[in-house]
């Protein structure tokens, strides 16, 4: 089962205090999500929320980072982990401006993802388009599934 190696997800975790609530909420989410026919999301509760997918040769990590500039983003990768950190800046507007709503937030973020399998750290590529970060991580040769021919 593919989920098994990722059972330990995530490796870094903040805010242990609300674990219990988190778990309850997630279970409720799972329940309602399933009832509404939507895929159940499982979040580690660390910004940015991200989606991890794979195909035969790559892992793909995507995160929604609207308003984050490439120069304020730092991505590092080692054999099996990748860290994404950066800062979201919201420029100060006109001083005379009267705010009616302020829902968007600025701040720093940092997240480490342990893939559990080896990747080719030299060939990791990242791109930022329309506020979506996409990181392509080629799997290391030995981590790729081998086709075995039956004789």
């Amino acid at each position: 089962m593919i989920l098994k190696p990722y059972f330990g997800w995530p490796d870094v975790r903040f805010g242990q205090t609300f674990d219990e609530f988190d778990r309850m909420r997630r279970q409720l989410d799972l329940l309602t999500g399933n009832l509404m026919g939507r895929p159940a999301t499982r979040s580690a509760g660390v910004f940015p929320l991200l989606n991890l997918t794979e195909d035969k040769d790559h892992y793909y990590i995507r995160a929604e980072l609207p308003g984050v500039k490439a120069e304020n983003l730092e991505i590092q990768s080692t054999g099996t982990t990748i860290s994404i950190s950066g800062e979201r800046k919201i420029p100060v507007e006109n001083k005379n401006a009267k705010y009616h709503r302020r829902e968007r937030e600025a701040g720093k973020f940092s997240r480490v993802i342990n893939l559990g399998k080896e990747i080719n750290a030299d060939k990791v590529e990242a791109g930022l388009a329309n506020g979506i970060l996409k990181v392509v991580l080629p799997k290391a040769e030995k981590a790729k599934p081998k086709q075995i021919t039956v004789k």
């Binding site: 910004f47 991200l50 991890l52 997918t53 705010y99 701040g107």
Partner: protein, 134 residues
């Protein structure tokens, strides 16, 4: 202590729209900043994944509607491992009290953030009426 805080993970707010969707899938409410100056009202909305051609802005009867379509992020051969956020349409409506000069509305989409500038109609300068004594 650093001067800027840590960002907290927040799940997107799924909403039900008053009108029924023709396209299935979740609809999310984008987070917005709205501020007003003497000359205009500016709205900033986080709409990650929305391309300019898929963004729809509509203003009628003092109701402003912003809508953006997001196409699925995955390639055809990709399999999900961990999914923490979903994608879908972004939609939100606002009612505006000030009269807006519709001809001069400006919209800009940059890095997944929409910036909408709604200039106010220049108020008619108060006219002083002098009453002449007969």
């Amino acid at each position: 202590m650093t001067d800027s805080k840590e960002l907290q993970a927040k799940e997107k707010q799924a909403v039900t729209t008053p009108t029924e969707q023709t396209k299935p899938g979740p609809v999310f409410s984008p987070e917005v900043d709205i501020f007003e100056t003497d000359a205009d009202i500016v709205l900033l909305a986080d709409m990650p994944g929305v391309k300019a051609e898929n963004l729809n802005i509509d203003l009628r009867d003092n109701t402003l509607t912003i809508k953006g379509d997001v196409s699925p992020f995955e390639g055809p051969d990709e399999e999900d491992i961990v999914i923490e956020y979903e994608v879908g349409q972004f939609a939100r409506q606002f009612s505006l009290s000030d009269t807006i000069d519709q001809a001069r509305i400006e919209a800009k989409l940059e890095d997944g953030v929409l910036r909408l500038t709604l200039p106010k109609v220049a108020k008619a300068t108060p006219r002083k009426i002098t009453v002449q004594a007969a």
